[in-house]
Symmetry: C2
Subunit: 317 residues, 2 copies
């Protein structure tokens, strides 16, 4: 079945676990901790000015001798500066998202980078493969933060993507333990990307008050909203309620953009304004109930996964 290149080989890591690059949560501390634990840590550059990004990359190199990568949202205004910094600093693994994979994949590959693009549908999966990416992250509806318009869930999306490309597929959305990791592998994924559980990790740069909200989250505590701008999964805090009120009074796109304003994600996730800030997190927050270190998370996922692999009885039901 598994004829694709394994992502452990592709990235030179021990376990097929990628820590998703998340704005305001995944700086060098989280990324290096995940890489040191045997997964692939990613610095989320989407919330960083170029100088800050360079600083994080340098600190990450100091903190780990294992492979790590950087996630780059392609719609970022300083994108070319960001990409130049990655190359200058010798970053070898780049995850791109939110944009056209045809634009920079070739350029990065020519400079020796392993390139992975994040998608939420088969159309962009094929486009990514055509652009020459080494792997694809397929992210389902349940994932936190920005998300696809088709609302396809991980259970439906992974087989669709696996069947239409031949590069390795990394499953994301709703994954954060050994059981969900094993499930993703059954669906045909070659590895998993975990966001929310790492957002609540000890090494995450998320504000303590945001982490507390993640632990408190239950079923139905998040919703994919602001679809008129870019669909984003948010915790239902007072800011979210004000978005709902705007919908109630029939607000148009411009009004919604004005309401969202600028810097609201930073205010919520990094500065801890859990009332007026934007709090991006996945549905799996309902299953996250404590702060753990990145190493504890990786170990728990691997041991949970092995417990399923070693117990074959569920196949003989």
């Amino acid at each position: 079945m598994q004829t694709r290149l394994s992502i452990t080989q592709l990235f030179g890591i021990k376990y097929p676990i990628v820590q998703g690059g998340m704005i305001w949560c995944s700086g060098w501390e989280l990324a290096s901790a995940v890489s040191n634990a045997g997964g692939l840590g990613l610095i989320g550059s989407g919330s960083m000015y170029p100088g800050v990004l360079r600083d994080h990359i340098r600190k990450c190199k100091q903190a780990t001798d294992k492979p790590f990568g950087v996630n780059v949202p392609l719609l970022y205004p300083d994108i070319e500066q960001h990409l130049s910094i990655l190359v200058e600093e010798g970053v070898k693994i780049v995850f791109t998202s939110a944009g056209n994979p045809a634009k920079y994949t070739g350029w990065l590959k020519e400079r020796g980078c392993t390139v992975v693009h994040v998608v939420a549908n088969t159309k962009f999966a094929k486009k990514s493969e055509d652009a020459g990416v080494d792997a694809i992250v397929a992210e389902g509806f349940e994932a936190g933060g920005h998300n696809g318009r088709e609302e396809t869930t991980t259970m439906c999306l992974i087989p669709l993507i696996v069947d239409c490309v031949s590069v390795p597929v990394i499953a994301a959305g709703g994954i954060g333990c050994g059981r969900t990791m094993a499930a993703a592998m059954c669906l045909g994924a070659s590895g998993v990307q975990v966001g929310s559980r790492f957002a609540a990790a000890a090494e995450s740069s998320a504000h303590a008050l945001f982490k507390e909200q993640i632990l408190l989250a239950a079923e139905g505590s998040t919703e994919l909203t602001l679809k008129e701008i870019t669909p984003v999964r948010l915790l239902k805090n007072p800011f979210y309620q004000s978005v709902m009120e705007a919908y109630e009074r029939g607000a148009d796109v411009e009004e919604l953009k004005l309401l969202l304003g600028r810097g609201r994600a930073k205010r919520g996730m990094f500065e801890g304004d859990i009332v007026d800030g934007e709090l991006e997190i996945g549905q799996i927050s309902a299953r996250i109930n404590r702060i753990e270190t990145a190493a504890e998370i990786v170990e728990d996922m691997v041991s949970g996964y092995r417990a399923i692999a070693e117990n074959r009885s569920f196949f003989n039901d």
Copy 2:
């Protein structure tokens, strides 16, 4: 890991595959075909008058000597008449949905029935267990037809439910092949319930034109809508577009109810009015590309599942 009663034992069936009871699709022909193939067929009583239900049960008994069941939406107006018919006709397996499991579970159990309740959140899962059900169907956001308000996907929902009850959990939503079945088992499910793929089966009573729409469906072809009434996942046909237009002009609940009217599901799914009818189907319709017999579906699921079980390499990635 698997300490719960297996559902193959619970129902006396060969494979842990339940065909979901679906209005206008699952009469005696589909239910008996699935049961004859080694799964558990369910007659969907939600679209049947009492006399019709009795007729379908009798025909199903004629068509199979294997166990089969009946799905009963508890909000159905003739519910007590329906339940009496089940008991009179000796139906031994009853799946209840859309209502309070505390109301009839005891009554059915006293009359020798195995009772399963369909839920979309942990609150109702616990309520069902307290009411004495023998198993629970946990249905994720991606499923077709009526659905939970929390929008929790199968990947997130199954571990949540499995961790809060001790009865067997049957996973539903996005499941229709061996890969998704194996994934559900990894998540802790004891079996799966499949709707959409059986809705398009040769023996389904869905209209040929509706079946054709299922085969044509792609990613993003369905949406969970009408949340102000009861959330329902529909194909995006012209009727769905008229619902979207109603939202655009700020329609209230009464206006939406008026627009939906009565009999629209029958019109669409049974009579083949694919323009003005309501077409209920799951996201997995994007992966359904041909009409097959129920036996072919069961065989394909079992062989796909076995292929994963026998190939351990994905655990050694």
